[in-house]
């Protein structure tokens, strides 16, 4: 279906989020796709399977008998030099955890979508960020999308940075809120994608090749092991600048504008008294709410790994009232985004930073709730973690 107002939505179609991601992934041209079904990721992989069945795709679609197998299949294909894709959610991501660490340790540029969903028990199929946060230390780049269009562009960015840095990347899209909703979205065409993202470059001696036999995944003693971890950490640091550069490049080639630099995106008051920090689709709700406020700003974190500490520090500037609103919690500690933000701005003036846990298990976050948070932030805050309901 074409959008009615052609001037406003040039080249856009009204698409389900999952369909937008599947079309984009197909245009990116993976050689091997493998996945295991889990709500709310299913529509993405069903669409890809359909493209393949209809002769509209060039990849091998390998049916996996578990997420553990799916992650291992794309691992093997990537090690053999292929560009690969997978998608999962929640329990599936956790089942993959062992493989995820292995993939990053082997420096394979695998890209996967995570349709973010709560973790059992109690079982719940709706959105929050507990799944992605559980693998925050697995050595994967992590992007969070606000809407369909951002999800589309983040998949391009993810492949670009992953293949440049030999690091895997997870693109997080809020389950149902993005995967099952319809929005106007422009799908980048193949030729433009090729310009931004040419075929995966393979250096001899870095993949499984009978003409140049290599041993991958050997046994490392303590000294050598430590060196590999150090290498990954250094490359994560380097990738901060690469993400910014490639996001700029992405904007140029695909001709779009926003306040973001690929790592963070600030919007709202120029000299804010309060800054709200969040990730994912929640940014949309907050942006709507902030239209009524002249002194509140929003800092949306689009890249969670590597964590953009310097960008956050810069964006906060002299604002001393910070509310981190997030969809995950480490029991006995705090919200992961809050903890990392706090660490990033440590020593920064007399900062008042408050953690709001919201939207767990798909709990609705309304504009009213955001307004209430802003009201609270104007008074004395307790610095205790607050659950928003």
């Amino acid at each position: 279906m074409k959008a009615k107002n052609k001037n406003q939505h040039q080249g856009q179609e009204i698409l389900e989020g999952s369909r937008a991601i599947a079309l984009t992934v197909n245009n990116i041209g993976p050689e091997v796709v493998s996945a295991y079904p889990i709500t709310p990721q299913t529509h993405i992989v069903e669409d890809l399977a359909k493209f393949k069945a209809n002769g509209q795709a060039n990849f091998e679609y390998v049916r996996a008998e578990s997420e553990f197998a799916a992650a291992s299949i794309v691992l093997g294909a990537s090690a053999a030099g292929a560009r690969v894709y997978s998608a999962t959610s929640s329990q599936g991501l956790l089942l993959m955890a062992e493989v995820l660490y292995n993939i990053s340790g082997m420096r394979l540029p695998i890209v996967m979508t995570c349709a973010n969903r709560a973790i059992s028990s109690p079982i719940n199929i709706w959105n929050d960020h507990s799944d992605a946060m559980a693998v925050a230390g697995s050595g994967w780049l992590q992007f969070f999308a606000e809407n369909h269009q951002e999800a589309v562009y983040q998949h391009l960015l993810a492949y670009k940075v992953a293949e440049k840095m030999n690091l895997p990347a997870l693109v997080n899209v809020d389950g149902f809120i993005l995967t099952h909703s319809y929005e106007p979205v422009a799908i980048p065409n193949k030729s433009l994608i090729k310009k931004y993202l040419p075929a995966r470059k393979l250096e001899a001696g870095t993949f499984l090749d009978t003409n140049n036999p290599v041993t991958m995944g050997g046994f490392f003693s303590p000294n050598d092991y430590l060196d590999t971890r150090k290498d990954i950490c250094q490359d994560f640091d380097t990738s901060l600048a690469i993400i910014k550069k490639e996001y700029l490049n992405l904007k140029k080639i695909f001709k779009f504008k926003n306040n973001g630099n690929g790592l963070v995106e600030y919007s709202g008051a120029k000299k804010p008294k309060i800054i709200l920090i969040c990730m994912g689709s929640l940014a949309g709700t907050i942006k709507e709410t902030l239209k009524k406020y002249a002194d509140v700003g929003l800092l949306k974190i689009t890249t969670f790994r590597p964590f953009p500490a310097e960008e956050i520090k810069k964006a906060i500037d002299h604002c001393v009232n910070i509310a981190v609103i997030e969809k995950a919690i480490n029991p006995g500690s705090g919200g992961p985004l809050y903890l990392e933000t706090k660490a990033a701005i440590f020593g920064h003036e007399k900062i008042n930073i408050q953690n709001y846990i919201a939207g767990l298990g798909g709990h609705d976050i309304s504009e009213k709730m955001i307004a209430k948070i802003i009201k609270e932030m104007r008074g004395r805050t307790t610095n205790k973690i607050k659950f928003v309901n």
């Binding site: 008998e65 578990s66 299949i73 294909a77 690969v84 009978t210």
Partner: protein
Amino acid sequence: MQNKKTQEYKKLAPGHNACSGCGQLSAVHAVMRGLTKDTIIANATGCLEVTTTAYPQTSWGLPWIHSLFENASSVASGIQAALKNRGDNNTKVLVQAGDGGTFDIGLGLVSGMWERGENILYICYDTESYSNTGIQASGSTPYGASTTTTPSGAQSIGSNQVKKDMLAIALAHGLKYVAQSAAGFPDDITNKVKKALATPGPSYIQILSPCVPGWGIGYDEAAMMGKLAVKTGLYPLLEYTDGKLSASSINANFKAEPVNSYLKAQSRFKHLGEAEINHIQMLAADNIKKYQI
């Protein structure tokens, strides 16, 4: 190590740090003789991976990957898919795993790979225990074997479970080539590998690989133990093509040696009394009956 004439690397170079007289490594050499240089290997975690790839060295002259304990079969599927997508029908994909990775932790993933019907040869080096972690019992551990998690004692005969029938599981997946062999029969192993690779679709070869420390045998006894396992009927050489038993070391001329000769030579069985030995003799008799062709 590269051969100056052929420019080919030796598939498995010496210098690895497996135990002297390791039954598995001798079986691996026999497997390698059945391969061409156009082979990619996916290896599970285990002795073979640990002893051949201590960074920065490697014994492998073929492209070789180790990911995790349980997923070598899925990794192989991914490699196969990548080859297929680029139109490479020539390169063979081989999985190597131990009995722990095959019978236990990796069984679901092995089943998934077989269901997909991909052209992958899976080799299980069966040491009948978790050799690499210190001889704990696996689903392959035979009745009566003392392991570190099924120790024999005043109230224990060692493992009281029966060895899982992996060959039957492979056959139930409709594999066109399923075989069993043992260290001590290198030509049999090499021939079976060649036959498996010539058969389209997935295939499975299980090779009894006597473990020097695990079985409590001498450094020069692994091949002999493989031979005795076959001669007693406890671990016959077998071959199934298209689901039918097509060759077996047990035939009309087969004269079984008593299992005692096999059991008494290994410390894992030395605690067994007459009743248990008789039971194991019965298991051998069952095999002889089952596989006679």
